[in-house]
């Protein structure tokens, strides 16, 4: 993945892309600039349940010789 990105970065198409003047400020910036949290409490809770439960399932001692 990283190698692919590096090759793409060096390509003439990439240079053309960066050579263009910036589009900003763009006429449409949906619907206005806003910041949102990376994770909300509900998603954090779900992640902790999945991580704890997943580790318990994957490390169940009977799965080891």
């Amino acid at each position: 993945m990283l190698a692919a990105v590096a090759v793409a970065s060096a390509s003439p198409a990439w240079a053309r892309q960066w050579g263009r003047p910036p589009h900003f400020p763009h006429p449409v910036l949906w619907p206005e600039p806003r910041s949102t949290p990376e994770i909300d409490p509900g998603a954090l809770r779900s992640a902790l349940v999945i991580l704890a439960g997943g580790v318990l399932v994957l490390t169940d001692r009977r799965r080891c010789r």
């Binding site: 993945m1 990283l2 692919a4 990105v5 793409a8 970065s9 198409a13 990439w14 892309q17 960066w18 910036p22 589009h23 900003f24 763009h26 006429p27 449409v28 910036l29 949906w30 619907p31 806003r34 910041s35 949102t36 949290p37 990376e38 994770i39 909300d40 509900g42 998603a43 954090l44 809770r45 779900s46 992640a47 349940v49 999945i50 991580l51 439960g53 997943g54 580790v55 318990l56 399932v57 994957l58 490390t59 169940d60 001692r61 009977r62 799965r63 080891c64 010789r65």
Partner: protein, 549 residues
């Protein structure tokens, strides 16, 4: 000799006041949370006084102290074990700890009042502001000292430090070094943000003809939906979290791993989680452009990162268990099946499906809720042979417990602040479904509440967790075995999984008591199902959709 005595003493069980320590920890956390959420120090920091400068740097105290304490315990774990006999002697009931707790509560009341004076507004008008600040700091220190004395006597800590001062200094140095490293690397986010930006740009440019990019501001997207790559989404958080997770895993399961080969999980995890983050941002732009900006911002952005992180972290564990290069004994599926999976998989399936459906909705009404029911039913069906412990017999006591649970939930569950918005979202969502589809959606919603959720949650929290907290070999713990630790911890975790955590903890206790009474897991499932059936009836008859979250 000393270490051996200490370990024997600890193995003797129950001699350390673990419950008191846990409750004191919870007390301090609740007090800190209350003060942090009730008051804001920012207005006070705007002044140019000497104490404003000091207060402005007070935020480093907690992370630095936590880092140092963790490092001291880590570096000195053998030392702590050696000196535990002294701890056991000092902590015998002969020493009263509750006067210090009472003193702490009084000091905290005074500290809360001083905090209200300082941060609650109007402080600028008071005379001698420096004295007020000094008094606030002194009372705060006394509050902490009294709490610490109730936890462990200071004389014991001093005695332990005197016996091995090098451990304390080494731990403090490691902890401070770790904190300092965190501060230094924090300033590197710009480089990482630039790399993330380039990768996102590289991914999108192949599929998005009208790509918009502002390299200097790390802004990338389409003409209709732009995203700015800020520090939290530069990949730092994910890398830090995966390091914490992998290091914790390496420590906890060190006996099943080969070292130093197992450390290869760290660079692998770092690269994978960073690439996954870049994919997430690219997908966010694609979703905001081609699907719905509301869903991208209101659902995908909050949920996709957590799900991806879980996938990467659990993928690392799966690799670590099966890759012969690092696994001491590669995992194989035992002939008897995985009892842990049978108990936890239905709940995990529901939670993971809910995360995925939430990522594709804008919040509020979850059109894809039926997917949770279908996935949970499929998992329950797959493990059906493992549920021999469920013997279905009617119990009026369990049904009555379920009814009490319903009342508790109704009384204690807090209404959402934006009740009107939540209700409108539900009404609009249901109205948007054609007649038959709406009825089917409601039928599956009720089936989820009354059948799959009670089964999945009771298998996990009562069938598994209450016994797992008694012994690692939970299958051999007799059904309904009671210990205070398993009762309180399993109920508290059940509560923590719900938005209404107080109500959740109490009804969790109720279901646990139902399970302990006859040792029949089906009783707990029945009680849970009755609660949810009554809630569903209440929701449908009164329109209180918020109760269905």
């Amino acid at each position: 000799m000393t270490a051996s005595i200490a370990r024997d003493a600890v193995r003797g069980g129950g001699r350390l006041p673990l419950l008191r320590w846990a409750l004191l920890g919870v007390l301090l956390a609740v007090e800190a949370l209350f003060l942090c959420t009730a008051y804001d120090a920012q207005p006070l920091l705007a002044g140019g006084q000497w104490w404003a400068g000091l207060l402005g740097h007070a935020g480093i105290v907690v992370p630095l102290a936590t880092s140092v304490a963790a490092a001291v315990l880590l570096v000195g774990s053998a030392w702590v074990w050696d000196l535990l006999p002294d701890a056991l002697d000092v902590l015998r009931p002969a020493r009263r700890w509750w006067p210090f707790l009472a003193g702490h509560l009084v000091a905290f009341a005074l500290f809360a009042w001083l905090t209200a004076v300082l941060f609650g507004g109007g402080f600028a008008a008071r005379a001698y502001p420096g004295l007020w600040i000094a008094a606030w700091a002194a009372v705060g220190a006394a509050t902490l000292a009294l709490w610490g004395e109730a936890l462990v006597p200071a004389s014991l800590v001093v005695a332990m430090v005197r016996r091995a001062p090098a451990v304390l200094f080494a731990g403090a140095a490691v902890g401070a070094g770790a904190w300092l490293a965190g501060q230094v690397t924090d300033s590197w986010w710009s480089s990482l943000g630039a790399m993330t930006f380039w990768v996102v740009h590289g991914l999108l440019r192949w599929v998005m003809p009208e790509l918009v990019a502002i390299p200097g501001e790390y802004v990338v997207g389409s003409p209709s939906f732009l995203v700015a790559v800020r520090p939290p989404c530069s990949g730092y958080q994910g890398i830090g979290l995966i390091w914490v997770f992998v290091l914790g895993y390496l420590w906890l399961f060190r006996r099943t791993l080969r070292f130093p080969q197992a450390f290869v999980l760290l660079p692998i995890g770092t690269v994978v989680v960073w690439v996954a983050n870049a994919l997430r941002i690219a997908a966010l732009v694609a979703m905001g452009t081609w699907v719905s900006p509301e869903v991208a911002v209101g659902g995908f952005h909050h949920n996709a990162g957590a799900l991806l992180f879980c996938g990467v972290a659990l993928g690392m564990v799966a690799v670590a268990r099966r890759w012969r290069f690092i696994a001491a004994a590669p995992a194989t599926e035992a002939s008897g099946g995985n009892a842990t999976a049978a108990h936890l998989a239905p709940l995990l399936a529901i939670v993971a499906t809910a995360g995925v459906t939430a990522a594709f909705s804008a919040g509020g009404f979850d059109l894809l809720y039926p997917a949770r029911v279908l996935v949970a039913a499929a998992v329950l069906f797959a493990f059906r042979r493992a549920y021999r412990e469920l013997r279905w017999t009617w119990s009026w006591v369990a049904a009555a417990a379920g009814a009490v649970g319903f009342v508790l939930w109704l009384v204690l569950a807090p209404r959402p602040a934006d009740l009107a918005t939540a209700t409108a979202s539900w009404q609009a969502g249901l109205a948007g479904l054609p007649g038959a589809a709406g009825a089917l959606w409601l039928a599956l919603r009720i089936a989820g509440a009354v059948i799959t959720v009670p089964l999945a949650e009771e298998l996990a929290f009562r069938g598994y967790l209450t016994r797992r907290l008694v012994a690692a070999d939970f299958e051999h713990v007799p059904a309904g075995t009671f210990t205070w630790l398993s009762f309180l911890v399993s109920s508290a975790l059940f509560g923590a999984m719900h938005d209404a955590w107080v109500a959740g903890t109490l009804v969790g206790m109720l279901y646990a008591l139902t399970w302990y009474r006859r040792g029949e897991l089906a009783d707990a499932v029945l009680a849970h199902a009755v609660t949810n059936a009554l809630l569903a009836t209440y929701v449908l008859t009164t329109g209180a959709w918020w109760l269905w979250g």
